[in-house]
Amino acid sequence: MTLKTRLLATSAAIMIATTGAVYADGHATHPVTGETLASDQTFTYRDLDESPSIDPGMAEDSAGGDIVRDLFEGLFNQDAAGNLEPGVATGYVVSGDNLVYTFTLRDNAKWSNGDPVTAGDFEYAWKRAASPALASPYSWFIELMSVENASAVIAGDMEPSALGISATDDTTLEVRLSQPLPYFTQMLTHYTTFPVHQATVDAFGSDWTKPGNMVSNGAYVLTQHVPQEKLVRERNPMYWDNENTIIEKVTSLVINDENVALTRYLAGELDRTDVPAGQFPRLSAEYPAQAMSVPYACSYYYMFNLRDNGPEELKDPDVRKALSLAIDRDIITENVLAGGQKSAYTFTHWATAGFETPDIPMASMTQAARNEMAKDLLAQAGYGADNPLTIDLVYNTDEAHKSVAVAISQMWKQTLGVETTLANQEWQTFLEARSNGDFDVARGGWCADYNEASTFLDLMQSASGYNDSKYVNPEVDALLADAKTADNPQADYTAVEQIIAVDTPIMPIYHYASVKMFAENLEGWPFENFQQNWYSRDLYKIAK
């Protein structure tokens, strides 16, 4: 076995050497930057909704993920730029066939009750997350990581004990994969892989996540949780890097209405809130130091229904391409949304790590040229003023989705004379309609599970459960399969994006941006982190 040792250099080591600051007098300074710290080190932010769960094995939404990352710590964390940095693991070795990963765990990691965090805690947590008994909605993540026997365990064909993870000793963890996965370690910052304290789960059952019961290993512990109102976490003195934590207390408030949240932010009650659609230009003019827009790992697109029983007109790739060409994406990003989103001609978000946006002919054309080409394509396909194309466009009820849909239907009407029927549907109805194929064109949004292009492009696989277009192209399937094991999969991704641009099973519209207001004295926010995975322990407030 050839060993590739990849020990991760750590800035944390340097930070440990510096002494922890005293904050109470308001004159303490940040150990690295030397800025004067505010005496109030609390961070309060708005969440749109109550998260379904804050159990690492059960959590399923990004807001819940934010909370879980504060309360628990996995093998690795992400730094401000989204790169891996040591968490409970200090490093790992991988076997020559890239199938066996052996992690070394730090010996000073502790649970909030003082117990050491061991490799066995990870083994327990992963087996628990995959087990049919827990029935976690995120059990598929273990499968996505290609952990040996994950599929069989989830399907109930094997016992959870057969999962390819085992603790060699307290500080050595071995994970066996069923196939090499170049971005496997990237996935270890995801909450589904975080450790869980077995004695606590055994003692309290599903009540273990309540304040007072929960034992966690992150920089913070849960002190208060009132569903639909707020969740409070305070620093964990047992955390191995506690002396470098500055924020004392973090409160997430559930505020459904974004305009109410903005009012409360402006009244000084919140340190972070979302910018309502369309308000970014005004707010960034008024509060330039507070309104921020950074790339965020999601793509917004419209999909065509390519099922056999779907609309005949849309079976012609030229018709689909014409519709895609006629969308003036810049109007949508600059005038409709106006929040720093970027026009999209590829499905993969432009800021995805290691992804070079391929040359898509349409991207470099002017809108006038696109419109000409669209008219020609549609005329050749036999549609015109006397035989207009009609389309049912379905989206889920939301002001922003509505604005985009109205704008696009107008563009189609003006450029191509296409008659669009807009149908907004309540969320669950929409999902059902989309997965049953009751649409001509439907809205879609996809967010990265990990920072690598396959998280987007795998949706184009014929067998993907998320391929609601039911697009089938064996060439794409072959390229994506090859990308899984290629040393540099960029060529495959470029080819796939170019094929999609021709076949047009979907129309990429824009790449998301995270548009938020941040209190002026809040520092340390990882704006560079593409998935916007943030950790409260990296934040601090400076004295004004």
């Binding site: 769960s53 989830i154 009132v226 109102e229 109410v260 409360r264 969320w427």
Partner: protein, 307 residues
């Protein structure tokens, strides 16, 4: 009277059962399900989840299991959406909140509404009457989803007097805006009903008799006119009280109070079957109980009414 109450309670049980079955059927008839999302679950994962919540069983069996669980153990099941909690947890947390601000809204709406209505009726066609009618019409046309953000803007952003939301265990400063926003339109209705009913009573013969006998106006109003004038108000108050204590999604959404109104609406959007059922049963039971309470009060106020 006892027989009346017993009979009403006996009817309540089949009513509730019908409510349960109807809600169950309607819920399942709605498209989608509790575990659908933007990211559809792989079939084997979905199967595990459905097995855990008993959704893989035939429909009739699910209803029977549900009703048996509720009746025998008062167990409303786990929430499908909030996976760390049961329906009992959701209600235990949300209902006291709603009950608190609902109760105070009720107190405010009744006190202010009845006072305005009575004052307007006694001083009919004076400036006081016009003012009272003006206030109640103003309050009526300002729905709480308009009222609440205005309050927020004025008291939180401009004046900085009150916190913009949250509950904090129901401290008074967190109560003021929810109570104001919730009570105004009820207050307006109560004022209008009180005024017209009081006017009607004041024109009856027995009031004229009382006045002819030289009784002071105060005594006429309190001892003779008030009780009969309250009858129409009372029939409005029964459902209004239930409406207030079972919460308002507008109040919960805008003031982040964590009350039950928001859970109710969200559960419908999320197809969180068990929470929909739990809260429907709670609201149904309360509606039945308060209608009964109103009927009993009727008999006490108006001796002509006998059951």
């Amino acid at each position: 009277m006892f027989i009346f109450v017993a009979r009403r309670l006996a009817v309540a049980i089949p009513t509730l059962l019908i409510l349960v079955v109807l809600s169950f059927v309607l819920m399942y008839a709605a498209p989608g399900g509790p575990f659908n999302s933007e990211r559809p679950l792989p079939p084997e994962v979905l199967r595990n989840i459905e097995a855990k919540y008993g959704l893989d069983q035939p429909f009739w069996k699910q209803i029977v299991n549900y009703v048996v669980g509720v009746v025998t153990q008062f167990d409303f099941g786990p929430s499908f959406q909030y996976k760390d909690r049961t329906v009992n947890d959701v209600i235990a947390q949300g209902f006291p909140v709603t009950l608190t601000y609902g109760f105070w809204s009720f107190v405010v709406a009744v006190t202010v509404g009845v006072s305005l209505g009575v004052a307007a009726a006694i001083k009919q066609n004076t400036w006081l009457d016009y003012l009272a009618v003006g206030i109640s019409i103003g309050a009526q046309v300002l729905p709480n989803f308009v009222m609440a953000p205005i309050l927020l803007l004025v008291f939180t952003l401009w004046l900085g007097w009150l916190p913009g939301g949250g509950w904090n265990g129901g401290q008074w400063e967190y109560l003021i805006m929810p109570v104001l926003a919730l009570s105004t339109s009820y207050m307006a209705s109560i004022a209008r009903i009180t005024r017209s009913s009081m006017l009607e009573v004041l024109n009856t013969n027995f009031i004229r008799t009382a006045q002819a006998k030289g009784l002071p106006m105060r005594r006429v109003i309190w001892h003779h006119a008030m009780k009969p004038a309250m009858l129409p108000v009372l029939s409005y108050l029964g459902p209004a009280f239930v409406g207030m204590i079972t919460g308002s999604v507008v109040i919960d959404v805008i003031f982040s109070t964590g009350g039950i109104g928001q859970f109710f609406v969200n559960s419908a959007f999320n197809r969180d079957y068990s929470v929909i059922m739990g809260i429907t049963i709670l609201v149904g039971t309360l509606t039945i109980l308060f209608n009964l309470a109103v009927d009993i009060l009727y008999a006490w106020i108006d001796p002509k009414i006998r059951y």
